[in-house]
Chain length 477, copies 2
Amino acid sequence: MAKDKKLVEAITSMDVDFAQWYTDVVKKAELCDYTSVKGCMVIKPAGYAIWENIQKELDRRFKETGVENVYMPIFIPESLLQKEKDHVEGFAPEVAWVTHGGLDPLQERLCVRPTSETLFCDFYAGDIHSYRDLPKVYNQWCSVVRWEKTTRPFLRTREFLWQEGHTAHATAEEAEERTIQMLNVYADFCEQELAIPVVRGQKTDKEKFAGAEATYTIEALMHDGKALQCGTSHNFGDGFAKAFQIQYAAKDNSLQYVHQTSWGMTTRLIGALIMVHGDDNGLVLPPRIAPTQVMIVPIQQQKEGVLDKAFELRDVLSGFRVKVDDSDKSPGWKFSESEMRGIPVRLEIGPRDIQNNEAVLVRRDTHEKITVSLDEVVAKVGELLETIQGDMLERARKHLAAHTSEATDYDTFCRTMDEKPGFVKAMWCGCQECEDKIKEDLSATSRCMPFAQESLSDRCVCCGKPAKKMVYWGRAY
Amino acid sequence: MAKDKKLVEAITSMDVDFAQWYTDVVKKAELCDYTSVKGCMVIKPAGYAIWENIQKELDRRFKETGVENVYMPIFIPESLLQKEKDHVEGFAPEVAWVTHGGLDPLQERLCVRPTSETLFCDFYAGDIHSYRDLPKVYNQWCSVVRWEKTTRPFLRTREFLWQEGHTAHATAEEAEERTIQMLNVYADFCEQELAIPVVRGQKTDKEKFAGAEATYTIEALMHDGKALQCGTSHNFGDGFAKAFQIQYAAKDNSLQYVHQTSWGMTTRLIGALIMVHGDDNGLVLPPRIAPTQVMIVPIQQQKEGVLDKAFELRDVLSGFRVKVDDSDKSPGWKFSESEMRGIPVRLEIGPRDIQNNEAVLVRRDTHEKITVSLDEVVAKVGELLETIQGDMLERARKHLAAHTSEATDYDTFCRTMDEKPGFVKAMWCGCQECEDKIKEDLSATSRCMPFAQESLSDRCVCCGKPAKKMVYWGRAY
């Protein structure tokens, strides 16, 4: 077993150094790698296959709500980016500028899209004429660029992959409804597919998107107690419509501005999967999103009939995503590798198993071994994958609950934030001064004003003035 | 019917002005639109849905051959682009350069990828160590940028969507095998899914890809007799491997260079669909790639039971991609619109049809009307879609054959090229001088040296010297 250990030992324990553990998992599970382009990564097959599954399932959910996919240009002319004041202030400092096309300087600089509100608005201004053209419920899958100073694989990179939905509606009510609807699609997706429970709520004005009237967010808690914003949904009201003159003729022939929304989720979700479910043996993937759900490891594969049986089982289990590891590595090495990659179930099959008409299933999440009859293997694997999916969500829910505290005075608030990793719920007066102070004192930010409001006290935890909202505070990625 | 005509009349006839007809179809079928960014287009839902179907089916075929998807950065540092001499000469004049990140000038310029050979090579140099790491059969779906001077929707735009496969192999034989394999995947895809017959062959040295040892191509013939290169597959030999030092330890422990390939198909295929199958009523989509295969148009939809029946039929036909047009437009208008968008089958259902337990199916490609019993509608629609798919391929094959001529002397060659739109097959000595002369005299290029070689004469059609190859010549997009 000495050889097997090596693969595992190469990972730093998460309790020793969580950041290093994260980097090790990313690297050893072969999810992504650094490149010669600073701040940009290559997403390797194991990582990209997760993204493909995320895309497929999210896209299915989008289309069920009437979303249509489109593709907008990669470039935004500087003058277009500048049309909405708050928006340009938010993004201009962090965009990449194209100044030359071929050998010639451009007449106007183009930025590589950091997000595409301005492009969609420019398009909608020409494409929307009448109430009959509404709503527009468009989405695109693409990459965007933000010139970040410090980067971390999946969590913060200069280029990342995402989807961005952009909608236009006749009324403010309809826009608000769509904003919340997509937030709920995101939250359900995270919980049902990624087994990541999230807190749903609204961002404070300080934390909202550049140009939005309201930003809604889903916030998840990583294993180290830090928060990760997993998706946001913005209601723009008619702000962009006024800046871009997007008007439609209503049924009464009056000219009205449209109301708009946008919403996005990114490859950062892969970072969330790693940090919510991973352990010291590597990645742990929820079955519904795992590119490979079952890895069949033949034992004594050189013995007659073993490999045949392994491939026969793969065919029997073809309703799942199954692979056979028939490489010339030792079984122990294969076990470690399959664990490192987070494959939910390992199926061991050797000469004795075959003789007994059995196989051994090993859960990635708990390491539990279950011997099953080959006659029942399809049903048992199916059940086990469902059980693992449910158990992973349940464990993550317990972790979230166990790492959500409350505070009603500032001393307790500070102590809790320092001593107990996780969210701290506390009342807030609504002033940015208190948010600024908390950030300065504790490096913590308001993650969201949850939809599920509670009244912990009637005073702001920071300044003592009358409280307006309960806020989830936390340190965040 | 006056109102219905309007939609159709807005299209220029293809016989009057093919280029304008193309632009009209693109616009009226709502496939794409121009943007504020010169040379870049927005791909609208009707266009993007075609691309999604292309992606889905191509990706499935790729994965069957062992392809794994990855994602490489959008940027290439200037020094990296320059590593392979022919490659940089081919691409540097047409790339977009990023010179500033946020407010700061970059130390080194980055180009927005025009293609990603250099990035894959840079990655492979670090990732390939031993023969055990081979082959690498990677692909990515992304957008690329080439600073074209003149642009046309789908056919030539400054940004376009594509897939680019990049592989590394232990031996030259294996690389050549993969190059041809992917060309055949492309050709089969075009014929089976897009109903577009193609000529498979090799590019001459003059026309091959910058940095390739050999470029293979599939060439299709548009309705106007011009050729369109639909996909290419390149064998790089070990040229890039030597430039990027991509070496592996062979089984005998010797250090060897890898052999590489790349291959790509783009959104240009949508242009091919338009120009191969379209007619004066608009787009005509082959059923296998059509986002909507059947449009149900209720007749007298205000009458009781008609809309109910229409939606009931949609549910009955749920094995196909079916929509009901229940808008408040007239049936005639709906017919035109469904034709404009190229929907393969229109299903008309009105009160009398319901009474007779019938529906009328109308073929988009031939306008043929077929009355079917509602009891058999699923089987009949299925058969009809298959028939249309087959007939469309057959018609395109006949067009290709009817527009492929031969010439054995230069006079005939020139006359044929000028008078008979299409390919002209002719012998060639192998010298670039003759290619240059033909281009200057006739604006025609060597499209490919087909795999299916014939000996039309033993002399070059241009210079009269001994012939080496039979070439398909043509004017091309």
